[in-house]
Amino acid sequence: MSATKPRDDRRAAWWFLAPVLVGFAVFYGYPAARGVWYSVTDYNMLNTASYVGTENYAKLFADEKFWNSMLVTAWYVVLNIGSQTLLALGVASLMHRLTRSVVLRATLLLPWLVPNVTIGLLWMWLLDTNLGFVNQLLHTFGFDPVGFFTDETWAMPTVAGINTWAYTGYTALLLYAGMLQIPQYLYEGAAIDGAGEWRMFRGITLPLLRPVLALVLVVSMIGSFQIFDTIAVTTKGGPVSATQVIYYFIYQQAFKYFHMGYAAAAAICLALILGLLTAIQMRMLRASRSDLA
């Protein structure tokens, strides 16, 4: 390093940060503050909002539909994150250890590039009970038809499966990028010591991937809590609120019933829960520290 006194870049830094900060303030900060305000009013878009104190929150905690939607969302997150992360880990290790083909990597991303509404429609037709290809296939093998979207036990696993299909490639790519940072010599050393692929995966890949895995888990969990489009296209929350996730609940309250205050209260609760879950996850996985350092 040279001996000259480092220039103070902090003033210049603000100029570079300004576009992002302004965007954040206008599109996130301000709406969020408005949201907090609406959550303590009786705003319904057509009236002038007036302060009602904690009434919306009290009503929300007594609303069985709200709790049901929380449960339903949790069930979805477990199904979706579980299957998506496991599959993505598998796919990423295969890419990492077996092939480095760029074509293959690009292909994995394809489902992620398709708009969610298109994915919803595509699977709605494929899985339809009467006209769908999947049920024709089941029928050929002598099984009874399954109402993937209309049977209350199947509806949520089906939606979770569709989103797993859509996002596995993307998640796998993130994990794969993380795996590329693991020094190759560790694997070579392990191979000389006679470790098999599974042993190397458990002993090298997983522990060293932890910070990346933690980030991927947090990001995909937040995304998963925000499941909306697939449900809005396919089941619309049905049958009998079996897929009425929290976002759909908020959407219904806000844009169908125009209970803006109530919907804002539900949204604030969701934000708090997500913040809490993220904090717990980051702590448990010690995401800010890497074992490579």
């Binding site: 599109f27 049977d151 049905g238 009998v240």
Partner: protein, 448 residues
């Protein structure tokens, strides 16, 4: 991250669009040319109303009509947002389940003074339609069209099953054994071995064509199925319509009707809800998976038009213990109370509600206009194309043969509560009477 940034992008584009929309409504000096914004949601009708707008501008050269069309869900969201932003269209198309909240928040102009001053003949409209859009002596729109319900069936399939088309003209129904309607449905149901529903060897687990296709996402009104039969069984939705405050979904006559529908799927004549298709009934009928279902007159062009893959025909609804009852529904045009051009907007609404415009719409054979003579024109237009749709008009004209679908506050919440209750009854999570009683209590609690 990706979903967040997409949502951000969507918001940004919304903001841009909203900004553009705001720019388009420029201020005008009095006396100068006026542009009225007019909104509707049905893309099939846009061309007809454009013709009306052209005719209107010809007669009133200083007024131009700018028609905007958006799909159903977006239509109401946009409208509410625009009203909240103080920049709503001058005139928009209204419908029963959404319009009460605009009335109670004072967003719709009372046109009764205009109607009185211009002596608009309210008797020219199909009976009762004009009254749907009144409250406490105020009037919030003039009727533009109506729709009724009928049975639609696959003609060749029924013929092959030995069901005479003439026999469909006067079907009967009751909640106990389903009357001749259930007999026809049973006969039209075919299993994979080609046996029909009346055959003792009929295999209900391997049905190839269902005799009847139900609609279970049918809100609180059951317009596409249970509502019509329940009404013919003596059920009424609420204490008074429009603007009732006491619903009666706990009426055993409704529960009986739901139980009958449930029995159809238990017998294999219609698909069970948990094995039902998420696709629309007309796709299933077109794929030959079903034989009969209910259809509204707004579906005429889907079933009899060039897009239909099979041959279909309409038959009157079955007559229940209280006779034949069809839901009738109508739309109206409303003026925004915040419009800067009240007189011009009224002129346009008056024109939309007049024979001059409704004859144009009727002549295109898209909907049945509210004015009786214009309805005849629509009927003639359909007949000119070789489509037999007389049943819809006959049902609308039959004395005591129609009932209006409810118009009350909280329409959308009632819709969800009742639909969930009926679905849970059909799925067997709860029996019909209990589910409906619970839903009815929740519905009526909304009005307290």
């Amino acid at each position: 991250m990706n979903r967040r940034s997409r949502a951000g992008a969507a918001l940004l584009s919304l903001a841009v669009v909203a900004g553009l929309a705001a720019c388009s409504t420029a201020e005008e000096e009095p006396g100068a040319a006026v542009t009225l914004d007019y909104w509707l949601w049905d893309d099939n009708q846009k061309a007809s109303y454009q013709q009306c707008a052209d005719a209107f501008t010809k007669a009133n050269p200083n007024i131009t009509i700018k028609i905007s069309q958006a799909a159903w869900t977006e239509y109401w969201q946009n409208l509410t947002t625009q009203i909240a932003a103080g920049d709503a269209p001058d005139v928009w198309t209204n419908q029963g389940s959404y319009y009460p909240q605009f009335v109670s928040s004072g967003q719709i102009l009372d046109i009764q003074p205009f109607v009185d001053a211009d002596k608009v003949d309210l008797s020219q409209y199909q009976g009762g339609l004009a009254d749907l859009f009144t409250k406490d002596g105020q009037r919030f729109g003039l009727p533009k069209d109506w729709d009724t319900m009928a049975l639609v069936y696959n003609t060749e399939h029924l013929k092959a099953q030995g069901i005479d088309a003439a026999a469909l003209k006067d079907l009967t129904w009751n909640p106990t054994d389903g009357g001749s309607f259930e007999q026809v449905i049973a006969k039209a149901t075919v299993d994979e071995k080609g046996r029909n529903g009346l055959d003792p060897a009929f295999d209900k687990t391997k049905v190839k064509v269902f005799g009847y296709l139900p609609e279970w996402a049918d809100g609180s009104q059951g317009q596409n199925g249970w509502g019509n039969l329940a009404a013919s069984n003596g059920f009424t939705y609420l204490d008074k319509n429009p603007w009732g405050t006491q619903y009666k979904y706990d009426d055993p006559k409704l529960a009986q009707t739901i139980d009958w529908f449930k029995s159809l799927s238990a017998k294999g004549y219609s698909p069970a809800l948990d094995k039902a298709s998420t696709l629309s009934r007309d796709s299933l009928l077109n794929a030959g998976k079903g034989a009969i279902t209910f259809a509204g007159s707004w579906m005429i062009n889907s079933y009899l038009g060039e897009g239909a893959k099979l041959k279909f025909a309409f038959a009157p609804l079955p007559a229940g213990p209280q006779g034949r009852k069809t839901a009738i529904n109508g739309l109206s045009d409303a003026i925004w109370s915040g419009t800067k051009h009240k007189d011009e907007a009224w002129k346009w609404v008056k024109f939309l509600g007049s024979a001059d415009c409704q004859n144009i719409v009727g002549g295109n054979g898209v909907v049945f206009p509210a004015i009786k003579s214009a309805s005849e024109k629509a009927l003639a237009a359909h007949q000119g194309k070789g489509r037999d749709v007389k049943v819809f008009v006959d049902e609308a004209a039959a004395p005591g043969g129609t009932f209006f679908v409810p118009i009350t506050e909280h329409g959308n919440e009632v819709s969800q509560l009742v639909q969930d209750a009926i679905q849970s009854a059909i799925l067997g999570q709860s029996d019909s009477a209990t589910a409906l009683k619970k839903a009815n209590d929740q519905v009526n609690a909304l009005f307290k």
